[in-house]
């Protein structure tokens, strides 16, 4: 079943077009998962919009302003005479072109020579966590079936367990999550579990899990997927994210994230 996320967002925002409302309402009549997601999304929207604007501390940009003033002093010897009516001799347009060229040259040197603290030379390359196959962590090859009823603390411990072992080898979470395979259960494949996770979270389509678990979460049969992500190719992962989805219906039950 396709879930019209775009229209669900519009519905929650109160901006849904009249011609789309009937489509969404028909879908919601048949989709318990989306009904629940819409309720959560509406609540989450209200929470986010109620966050107060913070008081801005003084001096946040002092370093940048000081640097700007320094650069301006370097440019000023060329620019200042123009403000004062100019020097005798060369025509004004020539001196202005010279000042502009000097300013551009200084800025070009600044841009090239100084370290890029913005995280990338091209601001178009805004990226979140890097994805897929460049990481060393091994993808999960089996589904661990655990006879456990997990809670949020244990899910958090699962994510935190990767701090000691960020290369993706299964972390020994010790007492937090004893692992006991249950014999005789249905033969789940990683593909089955991953399909459910990706149904709930389409963004996982390009990510490979390092661990897949079938267990219960607060009483509900669930799948857990652990995903490691990081800053880019050939760099160690720096974040472990655990997604918990209901086995029936593949709806999100919980998620947590830990820095590695």
């Amino acid at each position: 079943m396709n879930h019209p996320v775009d229209l669900l967002v519009d519905l929650v925002d109160g901006s849904i077009a009249p011609q789309d409302r009937a489509v969404v309402e028909a879908h919601l009549a048949d989709c318990a998962r989306c009904r629940r997601d819409v309720e959560f999304a509406a609540a989450g929207r209200q929470v986010a919009r109620s966050l107060p604007s913070p008081e801005v501390p003084d001096g946040l940009a002092d370093a940048a302003i000081a640097e700007a003033e320094h650069h301006a002093r370097e440019v000023a010897p060329e620019v200042a005479p123009l403000r004062g009516g100019g020097r005798a001799g060369a025509p004004a347009w020539y001196r202005w072109a010279g000042a502009a060229a000097a300013a551009a040259a200084i800025l070009l040197v600044v841009v090239i020579a100084l370290p890029d603290v913005g995280g990338g030379g091209d601001e178009a390359q805004v990226g979140s966590a890097a994805e897929d196959a460049a990481f060393a962590p091994r993808a999960a090859e089996t589904v661990e079936v655990l006879d456990l009823d997990l809670d949020t603390d244990q899910v958090q411990a699962l994510a935190l367990g990767y701090r000691a072992n960020p290369d993706g080898v299964r972390a020994d979470t010790g007492a937090a999550m004893p692992s006991e395979a249950v014999a005789g259960t249905d033969a789940l494949t990683p593909k089955d579990v991953l399909s459910c996770l990706r149904t709930a979270i389409p963004e996982l389509e390009t990510q490979r899990p390092v661990r897949l678990i079938a267990a219960r979460f607060e009483g509900t049969p669930a799948y857990l997927g652990v995903f490691l992500s990081g800053p880019g190719a050939d760099q160690a992962p720096d974040t472990a994210t655990v997604w918990v989805v209901a086995r029936s219906g593949c709806e999100i039950l919980s998620t947590t994230q830990a820095s590695l």
Binding site: P54, Q125, P231, T239
Partner: protein
């Protein structure tokens, strides 16, 4: 906050022509939004201040690249988001961790609240702490949409992703925030906020 985009472009032009005061004016116009964005993305005031400083230094050094075809606010938001991502990655390589456990959640900065504001302060603390726990990708989109109140098309330009992807991330972020706050559970008595729920 309504800004005439041509004012920003004029300030950039004046700065590039040697007027340092023009950059100060740009900072004054945008630092509240940039700091607010950084605070909600990084989850604490110290990191937000660091990210804001880095954002303005980065913007200064790249001002010559600002082509003026996009709104300056869009460009500045993009610089700020990158600064936040950089800081979050730097912090993740340090032993102290800022996510995933209650002990790491930011402490309220004010002293004990007046009794008639206790619920409001506790609620705000919970919401901000919960926001800091949802995945970064969703958190950034959620902050831009619901905290900064930007249109989805502009967020798409900031993050360089399609509008559909923005909406999906916002949707997931809202759900994750509500779930992290336990909104589906019984309403919490804030006077018992430190006790485990049944």
């Amino acid at each position: 906050m309504s800004r005439d985009p041509s004012d920003d472009r004029e300030l950039v032009r004046r700065y590039l022509a040697g007027d340092a005061g023009a950059f100060s004016s740009l900072v004054e116009r945008h630092q509240a939004r940039v700091y607010g964005l950084c605070l909600r993305v990084t989850g604490n005031t110290e990191d937000a201040a660091d990210a804001t400083q880095e954002a303005f230094v980065s913007a200064l050094r790249k001002l010559g690249q600002f082509r003026g075809d996009a709104a300056f606010t869009t460009w500045m938001h993009r610089v700020a988001v990158n600064a936040c991502y950089d800081l979050l990655r730097k912090r993740s390589r340090q032993p102290m961790l800022h996510l995933a456990t209650d002990e790491d959640l930011p402490e309220p900065e004010a002293g004990p609240p007046a009794p008639d504001h206790a619920d409001e302060v506790a609620g705000t603390h919970d919401a901000a702490a919960a926001l800091a726990r949802i995945p970064e990708e969703f958190r950034v989109a959620l902050v831009l949409a619901d905290v900064q109140d930007l249109p989805y098309e502009q967020i798409g330009k900031i993050l360089d992703v399609p509008v559909g992807t923005v909406k999906s991330r916002v949707f997931r972020g809202r759900i994750a925030l509500a779930q992290t706050m336990g909104i589906d559970r019984e309403p919490r008595d804030v006077s018992r906020a430190s006790e485990d729920e049944a």
